[in-house]
């Protein structure tokens, strides 16, 4: 699958094959005995856990030690404090997801200025440049994810329908790309559709924001929410208010997968591949530590997940068995409550 988006500075994506580790690289990395720290927005989500698993597996093969995994709890000040503290630990590299834009930009810059290799996941604060401020960005093709979600929803929309777009208020490369791509796809392929955009500040308020948008535009028949956890808040809020609308989103979280499989409001999901993203960022990190040339932006394609392929997609994305509820809905196991 091709990458449809461009990077944060207009870069063309390098495929993950470009940063594959050769036997020589792994041998050299083992000799290097590198130390790496990881700073994530959260370590509680399935997505973060899978990324960490991919990173750990790759670093394990290369005998590269992960000295700390920091959970910033989505808080810019916590991330700044963590990065400043970790600089004192002098790791060879830090892998980070910048949780904000300008608020965390200088803290990331200071990491590189201290001679520590900085690898970014999913987001680049505006103004930071590859090569001088960080080594590379590794992310999903977020533009592609937005177009997958739009195509799913479009199939369920009558001519001239109205759609609510719930975008994330914070400045974040990944969610910006998804929103722009969704809207562009609709504008290009379904110009009859009317889009109503509202920003949400946090996962907890997404449901309230959806209802507020619906109150203002009561002809809305579907929503696009830029990732799955707020999307499920939207689904729950709509259920409580007695609505049954079509919802598409990004990321195959457990709850979203169960809802999709059981013909709930979720009508399609554009899924990232967090384990493979973890592998890709660890490989890029090792190559950078060995002094090899690395691309500015490595992107992984998204998966289009419908109720027809949710079981195998779940296994592919999460590398584990799909939830029992999904298997029951797919009629792959018996429903225990039916007997």
């Amino acid at each position: 699958m091709t990458i449809s988006g461009l990077g944060p500075h207009g870069e063309r994506a390098a495929p993950p094959e470009r940063i594959a580790l050769l036997a020589d690289d792994i041998a050299a990395a083992r000799m290097g005995r590198f130390r790496v720290a990881i700073v994530l927005h959260t370590i509680a989500s399935d997505w973060a856990k899978q990324q960490i698993a991919g990173i750990m597996a790759t670093f394990g093969d290369c005998e590269t030690a992960v000295i700390e995994v920091v959970d910033c709890g989505f808080a810019p000040e916590a991330q700044v404090a963590a990065l400043d503290r970790l600089r004192g630990e002098k790791p060879d590299a830090i892998i980070s997801i910048p949780v904000a834009n300008s608020a965390v930009a200088n803290a990331h810059r200071r990491v590189s200025q201290a001679g520590i290799r900085l690898l970014l996941l999913d987001n680049v604060p505006t103004g930071l440049l590859p090569g001088s401020d960080y080594v590379a960005l590794v992310s999903a093709d977020n533009f592609g994810l937005g177009t997958i979600a739009a195509a799913f929803l479009a199939k369920r929309l009558a001519d001239g329908a109205a759609v609510g777009v719930l975008s994330y208020h914070a400045e974040f490369f990944a969610t910006n790309e998804r929103e722009i791509a969704f809207n562009k796809w609709m504008l290009t392929n379904r110009p009859d559709i009317r889009l109503h955009v509202r920003k949400f500040d946090s996962i907890q308020t997404a449901g309230t924001d959806a209802l507020a948008l619906l109150e203002r535009h009561d002809d809305i028949v579907g929503f696009f929410v830029v990732w799955d956890t707020p999307a499920m808040e939207v689904v729950k809020a709509l259920e409580r208010a007695g609505h049954h609308l079509q919802v598409t989103t990004v990321d195959l979280g457990r709850e979203a997968a169960i809802n999709l499989a059981s013909d709930g409001m979720i009508c399609g999901i554009a899924a990232q591949q967090p384990y493979l993203q973890g592998v890709a960022v660890a490989q890029t990190c090792v190559l950078a530590l060995l002094g090899r040339q690395t691309p500015d932006w490595v992107a992984l394609p998204g998966l289009a997940v419908s109720s027809d392929n949710v079981v195998e997609s779940f296994q592919k994305v999460w590398r584990k068995q799909a939830p029992r509820e999904v298997l029951v809905s797919a009629k792959l196991v018996k429903d225990p409550s039916a007997s």
Binding site: S4, G5, L6, G7, P8, H9, G10, E11, R12, A14, R18, N101, T126, G127, L129, P130, G131, S132, F143, V165, S167, E171, N176, E177, I180, N183, K184, L187, L195, V197, K199, Q293, P295, D296
Partner: protein
């Protein structure tokens, strides 16, 4: 006198007092600074295959940027609609309550107008397919702010000068390698545009490769790299590119460039030829201009090190020792962001150019500049002739 002027500026709201300065005996001075949040600047970069947009404050600092693939060969109206939609999105996200003070768009070719008057009055000729298309007029009418068009090489040079490797350079040569090869020149700290805004078209310089004589564009640009790469793939001279072709992949200049970086001998040879050809031309410029810094940019330069190495080898070998004594030759790290940052700086420099500033400063906003007010009226009239399709209200992107 100074206190009076500052009091006036403060009253108009253009400056604010900031922190205390360092005392040199007596009371510490109170510093004042210009308010960079009074308005915002919208910027876009247009090239053959990509559109970039951004929004900046009045210091030229970008709040955010976005890049996406486009086909500039498509009709001008659809490209304009895309820019309008993305500008609307940027305003809604970052500056819903901030007036737009100016816009700048970089375009693939030279822009011959723009220096004579404070504001651009009509769309200059920059691409055959955009001839007579009211691009500038629509933007002025839609967002109520002045527009500047510059060539992409000019905005990228400005971006590199203000936010990239050129921040400390007084004299810089910026070389962009793509389908066309162009040069931007920072001369004594300022962008040199030439008499018609067409300086730096070095791709037109005649060069010779073996028994072939043509322009630098034709013999060293990305079309040559793609063509030679495809031939190497088809003949089997490059096993790596042949494999790409066998798997149904495209072999273009980027693939050749990446293959060269991976050590593919045939691709390395192609990049080496291109780099040495460019190096010959750059060495001539370096001997004439004696720059502090030469920056190589464009996808070809940024996806591999071989082009840079070949240019360095040639320039160092063919230049006077004094010219190369402290000369730095590096590749840009800013990618397409350079064009956006540079476009923002075009707006900021133009608005605050003393000749323009004196006519609006008492009004507190350049949007009240008498010449611009007249321009808005004429743009609105011209825009009335735009098709209904172009008049459709922009939707969030």
């Amino acid at each position: 006198m100074v206190a009076d002027r500052l009091a006036t500026l403060s009253e108009i709201g253009l400056i604010v007092e900031s922190e205390l300065g360092i005392a040199s005996g007596g009371r510490a001075p109170r510093l004042v600074r210009f308010r960079t949040d009074l308005g915002c600047v919208l910027v876009a970069t247009l090239d053959q295959s990509a559109l970039g947009v951004g929004i900046a404050d009045l210091s030229g600092r970008l709040f955010t940027e976005h890049h996406e693939a486009i086909d500039l060969g498509a009709d001008a109206a659809s490209t304009l609609q895309r820019i309008l939609a993305l500008f609307d999105w940027l305003i809604a996200k970052h500056a819903p309550d901030m007036p737009v003070w100016g816009m700048a768009v970089s375009v693939p070719g030279p822009v011959s107008e723009g220096d004579e008057k404070p504001f651009m009055e009509k769309t200059p000729s920059f691409l055959p397919a955009w001839e007579d298309f009211p691009f500038v007029e629509t933007l002025v009418d839609r967002f109520g702010a002045p527009v500047w068009l510059r060539s992409s090489i000019e905005t990228m040079t400005m971006g590199e000068r203000f936010a990239g490797a050129g921040q400390t350079a007084r004299n810089m040569l910026f070389i962009k390698v793509g389908k066309r090869i162009g040069a931007g020149l920072i001369f004594d700290g300022r962008l040199y545009r030439g008499a018609q805004g067409a300086s730096g078209l070095i791709g037109q310089m005649p060069v010779q490769a073996g028994d072939r004589a043509s322009t630098l564009d034709a013999l060293a640009g990305s079309d040559m790299i793609a063509r030679e790469g495809l031939a190497a793939a088809q003949s089997g001279k490059s096993p790596l590119l042949a494999d790409t072709l066998r798997r149904g992949g495209d072999v273009g200049a980027i693939e050749v460039s990446q293959a060269a970086q991976s050590g593919d001998p045939a691709s390395m040879e192609i990049l080496g030829i291109s780099g040495r050809m460019i190096g010959h031309s750059v060495a001539m410029l370096a001997n004439m201009l004696n720059p502090d810094l030469i920056i190589l940019s464009g996808t070809m330069a940024q996806t591999n090190d071989l082009l840079l190495a070949a240019v360095r080898e040639t320039v160092y070998g063919e230049s006077h020792p004094l010219v190369t004594r402290d000369l730095i030759i590096a590749k840009s790290q800013m990618s397409s962001s350079a064009g956006l940052v540079g476009a923002a700086m075009v707006v900021v420099e133009s608005l605050f150019e003393p000749g323009c500033l004196k006519d609006w400063i008492v009004h507190g906003t350049p949007l009240a500049h008498p010449v611009f007010l007249a321009l808005r009226t004429s743009c609105a009239t011209k825009r009335a002739s735009i098709t209904a399709e172009q008049d459709r209200p922009a939707i969030a992107p």
